[in-house]
């Protein structure tokens, strides 16, 4: 019986989720530190986010995020509200936000590749295309 009790308690621990700062990774084609700061601030303020990634590329911004397990029910709402917030922060950028796991993986790959120019553009467009797919 003791083993079952400790198993249940550790599941609860996982469910409550870690409350410390979410892991945020960003990349900016034109190295504009100021824009990166504002984005990172916006992302870390939101308590619900566990992990996020953002890529800037001349007036195009692609953000992906992962929410805490328990608040996955409201994943859509969180994504919409964050999109509005980021749009207000970067009015002149074409902002795209997604909370899909695949997009997060792809975006992290793009960040690691540190690619430049047209290749980065192609990757970002590909990611946006992938997210729109319905079936």
């Amino acid at each position: 019986m003791k083993r079952k009790l400790c198993a249940i308690s550790c599941i609860f621990l996982l469910l409550s989720g870690c409350s410390e700062k979410p892991k945020v990774s960003t990349f900016h084609a034109e190295e504009d530190r100021q824009e990166i700061e504002t984005l990172e601030k916006a992302l870390t303020d939101n308590k619900k986010i566990v992990e996020a990634a953002g890529v800037f590329f001349d007036h195009q911004l692609v953000v992906s995020l992962q929410v805490k397990p328990l608040s996955k029910f409201k994943k859509e709402k969180i994504t919409k509200s964050l999109e509005k917030e980021v749009k207000s922060l970067f009015p002149d950028h074409d902002v795209f936000v997604s909370s899909d796991l695949k997009i997060t993986w792809e975006l992290n790959k793009v960040i690691e590749k540190q690619s430049e120019g047209k290749e980065l553009k192609k990757d970002l467009d590909e990611i946006q295309e992938l997210a729109k797919e319905e079936t």
């Binding site: 899909d100 796991l101 695949k102 997009i103 993986w105 992938l130 997210a131 797919e133 319905e134 079936t135």
Partner: protein, 151 residues
């Protein structure tokens, strides 16, 4: 021998279904099948261009493929006897229903047997799935056009 007193005797003596044990085995079997489903959808997401939402289609097809292999080898009916609803409710149960009927009626020929009897068990699922979807979508569309609710 009137029916009511007899039914009381039956209720006393006939062995009851072990509901608690069945629920636990159903939970275990259903959980394992959905766990495998989650792993399969991760595989599709990792290696192929599928998002979390669109990965469900290939996952369902793969689970039906697993159901075919298990049904053909005669393993699925043992899982069914052990798991009960745990093996019937997931989409593998739907696949098993279609595939077992297809295998069963092969002896009556492919057109009349397999063709005519394939949806003997699972047909009701499709029919009432489509019909209920139609009714729900119809009501919602009408309500939206009356402006009561929005999409």
């Amino acid at each position: 021998m009137d029916a009511k007193t007899y039914q009381q005797t039956v209720d006393q003596i006939a062995p009851k279904r072990p509901v608690l044990k069945n629920c636990m085995t159903a939970f275990l079997t259903g959980g394992i099948i959905c766990g495998i489903g989650q792993i399969v959808s991760f595989v599709y997401m990792y290696f192929f261009p599928f998002t979390e939402r669109t990965a469900s289609n290939p996952t369902v097809s793969t689970m039906v493929f697993f159901a075919m292999v298990l049904t053909g080898l005669g393993v699925y009916k043992k899982i069914g006897q052990f798991g009960g609803a745990g093996s019937a409710v997931p989409v593998t149960g739907f696949g098993n229903a279609v595939i077992s009927a297809a295998i069963e009626h092969k002896t009556e020929g492919f057109i009349l047997g397999v063709g005519g009897n394939m949806f003997k068990l699972a047909g009701s699922v499709i029919v009432y799935g489509v019909f209920s979807a139609f009714v729900v979508a119809l009501i919602k569309t009408i309500l939206v056009q009356m402006g009561v609710i929005s999409w």
